[in-house]
Symmetry: C2
DNA sequence: AGGTTTTTTAACCTAGTGGTTCCATAACCG
DNA sequence: CGGTTATGGAACCACTAGGTTAAAAAACCT
């Protein structure tokens, strides 16, 4: 039934703080405190978000003395994009007016 | 901080039942009972899922006598895919081994 | 060893989610 | 009108999520 790691990935992406963290990591590794700095939120809260991202496979963490640098991992993002890709033809068809055409035909049928 | 409708969209996509419903709707409109049939779950539960999908803008609902046919809406899917698209270059770079090269350089630096 | 920095853990709170069952609504069909 | 079908709503329950504060770990620096 299409379960699996997509659950965790999409759930992780559903939070704006976490998406902002990913955006930040897009431009390179960062430590927990660096990631926490921009947010009006306690640092343990950020740690929780990072754990969610890690369990979803969106980031991985190294060790540098006391610091735990985070880096973006491409795998999960790629899978999520892959799932959405299934629908690309659908929304591009719609953009080309195919669905609108169908709507017109249906309305014509009702009259 | 990149908030907005992406929250609702990704949250809606985080549930396998809802993704299955979207997949089903990909091949055409369907009524609530048709959508509920494949699942070992009460029909009100499906109604709740449909409400989540609707509030996320992923589906819309018409009216056909007692039935409330659901159809897939492309907008939200397109936005979600658009957000992920920002990272496409990142995971494709990784696939090309760019990050692996960086890893090798770093390991060489440690020795 | 003692103190500082960085990060995680624990305990707690509130609110939301995903499911249930039972009932209400709405539109059809005799 | 009365019954049936299709769907939404209300009340409830267990569990999870996102936040807090306070304390514990772990690795550094004299």
């Amino acid at each position: 039934m299409t379960a699996g790691p997509l659950d965790a990935t999409f759930a992780a992406l559903a939070d704006p703080t976490r998406r902002a963290i990913l955006a930040r990591l897009h431009s390179g590794e960062a430590t927990v405190s660096e990631l926490a700095a921009p947010f009006a939120m306690s640092q343990p809260a950020i740690s929780k978000h990072l754990k969610v991202l890690e369990r979803a496979g969106l980031i991985s963490r190294g060790r540098d003395a006391q610091r735990r640098p985070c880096r973006l991992e491409p795998g999960a993002l790629k899978e999520a994009a892959g799932w959405l890709e299934t629908y690309r033809a659908f929304w591009e068809d719609r953009f080309q007016g195919l669905d609108d055409l169908l709507d017109e035909l249906k309305e014509a049928d009702d009259e």
